[in-house]
Symmetry: C2
DNA sequence: ATTGTTAACATTGGATCCAATTTGAAGGTG
DNA sequence: CACCTTCAAATTGGATCCAATGTTAACAAT
């Protein structure tokens, strides 16, 4: 049983995000190490990393605890993502465009257009869109040439529901979901248009609104209870 | 020789920030452990934490390296801090004011007023102002009731010069330094005024500008070469 | 002289062992 | 009966040991 370098960290993170470890569950080093079949050392390192990511909180002498993630906190994370990605696109406009950025953006737009060409959606296509969406946001952040933005986003990206890599999806209303994601994709078009036109403030505002829109749909869906989470990677 | 919990992490961080470890220096676990008189385990944990903070980069099989922090990166960090703290003050206005927040803010303003009462500045007073400044920014971030902001800022706070906890100071021009810091303090007044008046957008804009102003003075001072860094804690 | 192979070295990753500290309970005492 | 004391169990933090792997240098062969 060969373990990868970051296997312990990834396994624990997935267990938390997938709900295998419920919010509030206490985690001690020794039981976790035995559960995963490894020693305490990688578990300790993983616990500290997960604490840094905000998924675990440290209880003084009683181990770690899976952190409560409230809806308010998700809303806050989305807001943070909005301003940071907004800053990214503004700085893209303010600086010289990184080479290849417009190509990647155009590619994302076109791939999305093809996906939305026929007016129907299933889970596989949502999965594909999540990947396109991830690439779109990723290249904007990288394109800002401001590494601090990526670093600040890094923590939020690990939080469930606040990340670009996670989309909620209601399998019972594919029609409506098509509309929702198509609207998001149209926002992508508008953002690229603003960037290429040198409209930094408009691009920034669109980006903030784009994040907010994702939040609104999350709130609607999570309230209905029939949502399904689709994550990339 | 009793070592604190986070002593190793703090010592290494200080060595990097103070310049005792030059940019580009390579760090291996064993020599570092011997240097600090501890075992490899805490050093390993500290290295990973410092990597997460962006102060070290991992070289595949050749240990860690003190990361190059360019001026562009500092500028980027300051920009990030601006939008995040701007978001914080906007959300303070949008939400119900946290109890005690206005008291703390007023206290910071008053303490600063007293510090600036006589038109002279020395290093001790700068130190005092750094602490007031830290408290001011800290309670705004906390007052936003959005933990994601604090988490996103956390990484940037460890970068030299991008943090509120670090101020550059030119000891040869105390007159001018008085003016500079007094200007920053007046911005604090304006921010509090905007918050209490419910002017969210104005507060946000002021906060962004406030961060930017600190950057401008840093660029001037670091170019002159006679600056001195004063950090809190 | 250059290049390929091999062996020693350096370095990290994981496992286990030891120490310190706190929690919790149980028992004794006022 | 309540409260204080003390001891044991649990748990984390640090140290050392072992394994795996990559890097470098030396040496030999062409």
């Amino acid at each position: 049983m060969k373990k990868d370098k970051h296997a312990v960290l990834s396994i624990l993170r997935d267990k938390i995000l997938s709900g295998a470890l419920q919010q509030g569950d206490r985690l001690a080093e020794i039981p976790t190490a035995e559960l995963l079949g490894v020693s305490r050392t990688p578990v300790r390192i993983a616990f500290r990393a997960l604490e840094q990511e905000g998924l675990l909180t440290k209880l003084p002498r009683r181990g770690y605890q899976v952190r409560q993630i409230t809806n308010d906190e998700i809303a806050g994370s989305v807001e943070v993502r909005g301003v940071l990605e907004g800053l990214a696109v503004r700085q893209i406009v303010e600086k010289d465009l990184a080479p290849g950025l417009t190509d990647t953006l155009r590619h994302c737009l076109q791939a999305g257009d093809e996906l939305f060409a026929e007016r129907s959606f299933n889970e596989a296509k949502v999965q594909a869109y999540v990947e396109i969406n991830r690439q779109f946001h990723d290249c904007l952040v990288k394109g800002s040439q401001n590494n601090a933005i990526a670093m600040a986003l890094q923590i939020n990206e690990h939080l469930p529901m606040a990340s670009v890599n996670a989309l909620v999806f209601n399998p019972e209303q594919t029609e409506r979901e098509y509309e929702r994601l198509y609207y998001a994709h149209q926002q992508h078009h508008a953002i690229v248009q603003a960037i290429t036109a040198g409209q930094g403030a408009r691009a920034e505002a669109l980006m903030k609104e784009h994040a907010q829109a994702a939040l609104n749909s999350y709130e609607q869906l999570s309230a209905s209870g029939v949502s399904k989470t689709i994550r990339s990677e």
